[in-house]
């Protein structure tokens, strides 16, 4: 505590200690969005799904798109944070917490989309009572609940030392922090156990995260429908999920950096590294998209081509080409060189990608359903205010959850930053020395 640099930690505790008018304005705005969503859903609940723009053959629309999108965003967190932790990327320290919180909040919102989409939400528990494991929806339920459990644990574990700091320093919510801190005193033994637990969770969480978006893609690819029945959907969805996740994370970081004045912690270098990661994901996404559509086009099965042209030149062209623009052209232009205006450029790219990835999910769900194989009347899906409201409400709910979290817990890990200063500097130096040519110390 004697370290004068620690006064900066007050910045991290400030949002928990004091609440300004900005917070109330934000809550008021988000509550309006949520209210819109709540009204929309309550009408849908009493009247039926008829109040949406869904029909036959387009039985899935915004809700399923949102489901895939939000679950995709959830890959921001836990996965990125786990990979950075395991690869000992030291620049991760101020980022991991923010990422992990996104995951936990957004999984609730994502899974909620399926409930909203059900014609009979009152029979939801039939999934447990009569569950049929052959259905990819059951795979989703399993994988997502495993991911939620793992992510919550993985968020909570590294929070324990910070909660202890709050318990000791803060005057309020003593009981809550005391219980959650689990008697943390910061002994060496406790640190050893904690670091081990975090490392185990970081390893565990990666395969679970990969499984989540794979099985989300299986909802589509296990059917026989044109443009859905594709073997690369699993990895394609996972790549898209990480891609949109990083973009979502960057936007969150920029918003809270401004709102909570975290410039001291979130430096341009963090955005540059994340921007580079984003660029790689953008190229990877483009590669998958290219491979997916080229295969369909070259094979030229008539049913496949109907959907293909609908996306390229047909009724869905504005969505398809906006998606390419947002996910590939804009990020490439913004992220190719990050020497100057790093934060601004990364922000524009991230905002474009979040929109682009939503469009990608939409362009996967709706066009296939719009063009049935048989000469069935084709349908144009036009969402009503109900779907828009539900979508706005979902975003609002996510943002509100996130905002409330920052009012209870520090959004940047205090102890991990300290650890970076106190021990990692030396560790990294030793590590580099160990890479350099020299005598090998035999360890048996």
């Amino acid at each position: 505590m004697a370290d004068p640099r620690d006064t900066h930690e007050d910045i991290l505790l400030a949002p928990i200690e004091h609440t300004g008018p900005g917070f109330y304005w934000a809550v008021a705005f988000l509550s309006l969005l949520i209210l819109w969503g709540a009204i929309a859903y309550s009408i849908q609940f009493t009247e039926g799904l008829g109040v949406t723009g869904l029909h036959q053959p387009v039985g899935w629309g915004f809700y399923v798109t949102n489901f895939v999108f939000f679950i995709g965003i959830s890959h921001a967190g836990t996965l990125i944070s786990a990979i950075l932790r395991l690869s000992k990327a030291e620049w991760r320290r101020p980022i991991t917490r923010m990422a992990e919180v996104i995951t936990c909040m957004v999984i609730f919102i994502g899974a909620g989309q399926i409930l909203v989409d059900l014609g009979r939400p009152d029979r939801m528990l039939n999934v447990l009572r009569h569950g049929r494991y052959q259905s990819p929806l059951l795979w989703d339920a399993t994988s997502i609940s495993a991911y939620l459990t793992a992510s919550l644990t993985y968020l909570y574990l590294p929070m324990i030392p910070d909660i202890a700091i709050l318990r000791d320093r803060l005057g309020k919510r003593k009981l809550l922090y005391s219980v959650l801190a689990l008697g943390w005193t910061g002994t060496e033994h406790q640190h050893r156990v904690l670091n081990r637990a975090i490392a185990i969770m970081a390893v565990l969480v990666i395969p679970i995260a990969v499984s989540v978006h794979s099985v989300v893609s299986f909802v589509f690819s296990m059917t026989l429908q044109p443009s859905w029945h594709s073997t690369i959907f699993g990895p394609y969805f996972v790549v898209g999920a990480i891609f949109s996740g990083i973009a979502g994370l960057i936007l969150t970081m920029i918003i809270f950096r401004k709102a909570y004045k975290l410039h001291y912690y979130l430096k341009p270098i963090h955005f540059r590294y994340l921007g580079q990661l984003l660029l790689i994901m953008s190229l990877l996404w483009f590669y998958f998209t290219f491979a997916e559509y080229l295969t369909g086009y070259y094979g030229a099965e008539p049913e496949e081509m109907k959907v293909f042209w609908a996306k390229f030149t047909g009724p869905f062209w504005p969505f398809f080409w906006s998606m390419v623009l947002c996910n590939f052209v804009v990020p490439l232009a913004c992220l190719a060189s990050l020497k100057r205006h790093t934060v601004g450029k990364v922000m524009i790219a991230s905002a474009a990608i979040v929109v682009g990835m939503w469009l990608e999910r939409f362009i996967i769900v709706v066009p296939t359903l719009s063009f049935p194989r048989l000469p069935f009347p084709e349908g144009v899906y036009l969402p009503t205010w109900v779907e828009w409201g539900e979508t706005a409400g979902s975003f609002g709910l996510f943002a509100l959850f996130y905002l409330l979290f920052t009012k209870f817990f520090p959004i940047i890990s205090i102890w991990e930053i300290r650890e970076g200063r106190e021990t990692s500097l030396k560790e990294v130096e030793e590590r580099i020395v160990s890479y350099l040519p020299g005598e090998v110390e035999e360890k048996t």
Binding site: E47, G48, L49, G50, G53, L54, H55, Q56, P57, V58, G59, W60, I114, D117, L118, G119, R120, P121, R123, M124, N126, V127, R129, H130, G131, R132, Q134, S135, P136, L137, L138, A141, V219, M222, T223, L224, Q225, L369, P372, R373, L374, P375, F376, P377, G379
Partner: protein
Amino acid sequence: MALWGMVIDLDRCTGCQACVMACKAENNVPAVGAKEAKRGRVISWMQVLTETDEEHHGANMRFIPRPCLQCDDPPCTKVCPVYATFRNPEGIVGQIYERCIGCRFCMAACPYNAKYFNWYSYQKEGPGQNPDVSVREKGVVEKCTFCHHRLQNAREKALAEKRDFDPAEYVPACAEACPAQAIVFGDLSDPASEVSKLAHSPRAFKLHEELGTKPKVIYLTEGETSG
């Protein structure tokens, strides 16, 4: 065990829609109204699809009456998360309306668009309905069952009269109503039945057979008369 199937002769079909109407009356299929119909929410277990001849555009109109094809390997049942849709031992694909959670996965998976959703509460139980068929609530998927209740009735009648059940006693409403006798129904597992013989006709084809769904509704292509 019987394997119920249907043969529809496209040469005989005039597109009169008698099968559609008979099905609606028999199965309490709701009339959704003009406004809902315009939004693409017509429920029609039996639906006459029209296809224009690609080569002679507009010259030839092809009518394809499409009930549920009662696939032997149905893509819809596999994806149902709650066993609300299933293939029964006699090959009929059923739907448990009381269990369906309305996720519409089966609709998305069916390559034939044979499943329909109750977007609103379209009707309540009332006079004039067929008491043998339950009225569906809002939020559930419904589909053609080959008039399964008629099979149950025929079996019960045979049992009450203490005689063997004759497959000829079981005919779905659409087949019964077709004035051109384009629809033949019967037991596909019995090689002597008319439906079996027709199913092996050189004119026989199945809709999107390449998908491997093994439909038990078999079509006879045009050609006998129009050449």
